[in-house]
Amino acid sequence: MVRVVARTLAEATRRVLGSRRRTGRGPAAAEPAQAGDAALAADLEAAIGADRVRSDAAARYLASRDASIYREGNAGPVCYPDSTADVVACVQVAARHGRAVSPRGAGTGLAGGAAPLGRPVVLSMTRMDKLLEIDVDNGVAWVQPGIVNLDLTRALAPHGVHYAPDPSSQAACTIGGNVANNSGGPHCLAYGVTSAHVLAVEVVLSDGSVVTLGDLSAEPVGYDLRGAFVGSEGMCGIATAVAVRLTPDPPAVRTMLLCFDDVSDAAATVSAIIADGIVPAAIEMMDQRCVRAVEDFAQAGYPEDAAAVLLVEVDGPAGGVSIASERIAGIARRYQAMSVRTAADEDERARLWKGRKSAFGAVANVMPDYYLHDTVVPRTRLVEVLESIYEIVDRYDLIVLNVFHAGDGNLHPILAYDSRVPGADERVHAAGREIITMSLDMGGALTGEHGIGVEKREHMSRMFSEVDLDQQARLRASFDPYCRMNPGKVLPSAHSCSDIAALRASDASGVWG
């Protein structure tokens, strides 16, 4: 296997996406365009311009999948809108043709949320990537949904503020995708996930009308519809502009690497830090297999003999930062830490984070395929949860790398495998199912940040009752009574609009069949 060191985060992310696209369950070419699509495409072209609509197999193939292992998506014509007006026009044309609409950002989603079901019109939002306005006084910026998360952060840097949610995919993923998935990231431990950072959203609804949900005032009137919209996975409407909250850069930051020769000690340290009333900006954990992969890939300077490392960051006013980091070091030593290292300068800090953020890229060097899981457990139970994960994967004779947001109990066990080995896919799915069951049995949640999409749709009834799901379906139907927006996701078939004609056109079965 050729080992190439990704020099940048963007490169690492692209590599991951590239490798995901090449592998997985034999990607079939998109089905040939159907006769009915010619009239649809012609109307779309008339509405937004011929150069903004593509119906060729290559474009539809790329728009049919995201970074998940789901491969049954099937895109109709793919549109590249430039403006809210373009989006409205596309939605109206699709409605006239009785077709659904599926928005997509960068396609880095890991739950199949952007995989179009039923040959809908796909709206690729990546051309709408402008930063519209920065208003530092009010701590808000208006952006278009296609702007890449990291580009926003870079543009804000000179103003002494940043956009707090920082998914590991931030070099590629879009704010629109972040809003749709209510995405998280390491620093969401202290600062909250996307929902806490979205003040208002301009949305095109399924009837083509445009509404602004929320506003910049402290307490908008009416129901919190911007809150209801965030995390709706493209099923409630299309975000065409987003007002994001700007977080002032902290006056002081300290990044620490705590190394342990026992995974349980690392997990216990996490629980003890939280129990001590310290709220670090981030607590990330990596186990030995992950550390070794990262070292091979990105040379972050993690000790390869450690059974587990914790990357802990504290920020805020300088006095508190030094008190909190000393308390954290004390806790780590109480749990037998082999070493406690504090980044001496910005360079070292960047290197430590680069290791964490390139972990997924590094996995590609371990095995050709991987399945990244995302569940949440109570953060006080990390020790027993990790033991269970190792027990499950051992039983299925698989390799697992653990790299996760330990501070809020958000697990990301990565099952690395080679799908060419007979039976490997089945073992991976069976182990994944057990990890989900174990997480729920511990009082956990199906997903902490990647969303439900098609991947976990049929698992929803294991976490929610019929009544709960019915309430969620009402939320969705209040936004989109026609079930025309990204149909077939999130809600199990009995609660979704699986009756719409468009959806019948394709096989809408989930990952688990």
């Binding site: 006084d137 009010n138 701590g139 209510n182 969401c188 909250g192 996930v193 929902s195 445009v210 509404v211 602004t212 949900l213 910049l216 005032s217 402290a218 307490e219 908008p220 009137v221 009416g222 129901y223 919190d224 519809l225 809150g227 209801a228 965030v230 006056p251 629980s271 939280i274 129990a275 009333g277 709220v279 805020g316 006013p317 006095g319 508190g320 909190a324 949440v376 109570p378 953060r379 006080t380 947001h405 809020d408 109990g409 956990g444 949640a445 902490g448 976990k456 929803m460 976490m463 929610f464 009752s465 709960d468 799901l469 019915d470 309430q471 969620q472 939320l475 139907a477 209040s478 809600l491």
Partner: protein, 310 residues
């Protein structure tokens, strides 16, 4: 999926599936969003703390519990929630009103603190939104929808709330003559209040950082900052503005009368009510659709409408 506790099932039975019904909390914000329709049956939500997990930083509590009582119980472990304390105000009432605490600058808005809600739907059945963990994106976000809904979509019986640590040192100080903007550089300020002349600050954090902010405030002040018991008397009406609008109240917002502005937040407490805020027709229509889908017969808290909140 959880087995619901007896208090919750008893509450659901009392709500039943027919006839107009409203929940009485502490009656501290009783007429927010309109007067209760006459003849509406009143019920009370169950009270009591179900489980406080200091190491998890969450607390499961019944909606009828007074916020002050909840906070007294959490204080023993050095924790609190983001809910505002009003004499007699309940957890459910605070969540349904959705109005933030005076310390929102530090504690965040009420909406971010609700992790799970168990509530009685219009048809009398119990639903659960959110999850029992501090992070969750499983499905549509019913918790955010419920906060501030004035009990018009479902009647909340039990919730799981995020808790946060109380600062090692906490002090309210009165800073005569200080301007609001420069005070925003005080990182430990969990509340900054300004009445056009003077500033009040609630500092919360590590002792060293609080001391540093106190000297910062002393420099802005026309006299030495003095310790006080709490915020100044707040005028009765609540305005919702952007932070920069709130900061401009000093230059004579005649319509507001006497005011105390929450610096950096945008809530302004004023002696005159805020003029009705315009609502986009499309947003009004969406609000109506939500009410219709969640409560087709209009039996939950009839007469109240979050669109009519000041």
């Amino acid at each position: 999926m959880a087995d619901f506790d007896e208090a919750l099932t008893a509450f659901a039975a009392e709500v039943g599936s027919e006839g107009p019904v409203c929940v009485r909390g502490g009656r501290t914000r009783w007429s927010l969003g309109g007067d209760m329709a006459p003849g509406t049956r009143e019920v009370a939500a169950p009270a009591g703390i179900v489980a406080f997990e200091p190491a998890e930083m969450t607390v499961r509590v019944r909606a009828g519990t007074p916020v002050t009582e909840l906070h007294e119980a959490l204080a023993g472990s050095g924790q609190r929630t983001a809910l505002p304390e009003r004499p007699g105000g309940t957890v459910g009432g605070a969540l349904m009103a959705g109005e933030s605490s005076i310390a929102r600058l530090g504690l965040g808005p009420v909406r971010d603190g609700l992790l799970q809600a168990r509530y009685v739907c219009a048809d009398g059945r119990i639903a659960s939104g959110g999850a029992g963990t501090v992070k969750n994106v499983s499905g549509f976000d019913l918790c955010r929808l419920l906060v501030g809904s004035l009990g018009t979509l479902g009647l909340v019986g039990e919730v799981l709330l995020r808790t946060m640590p109380v600062g090692e040192v906490e002090r309210w100080v009165h800073v005569p003559g200080a301007a609001p903007d420069p005070a925003r550089s005080c990182h430990t300020a969990a509340s900054l209040l300004w009445d056009g002349t003077d500033l009040w600050a609630f500092l919360s954090g590590y002792g060293v950082d609080v001391d540093e902010d106190l000297s910062r405030l002393a420099e802005l002040s026309s006299g030495p900052p003095e310790d006080v018991d709490g915020p100044p008397d707040l005028p009765p009406h609540r305005w919702s503005c952007t932070p920069s609008e709130a900061a401009s109240f000093g230059s004579g917002n005649g319509a507001a009368g006497r005011f105390v502005a929450e610096v950096g937040v945008g809530v302004v407490h004023a002696s005159e009510p805020q003029p009705a805020r315009p609502v986009e027709p499309g947003v009004g229509e969406l609000n109506r659709r939500f009410k219709e889908r969640f409560d087709p017969a209009g039996r939950l808290n009839p007469g109240r409408d979050p669109l009519r909140k000041p």
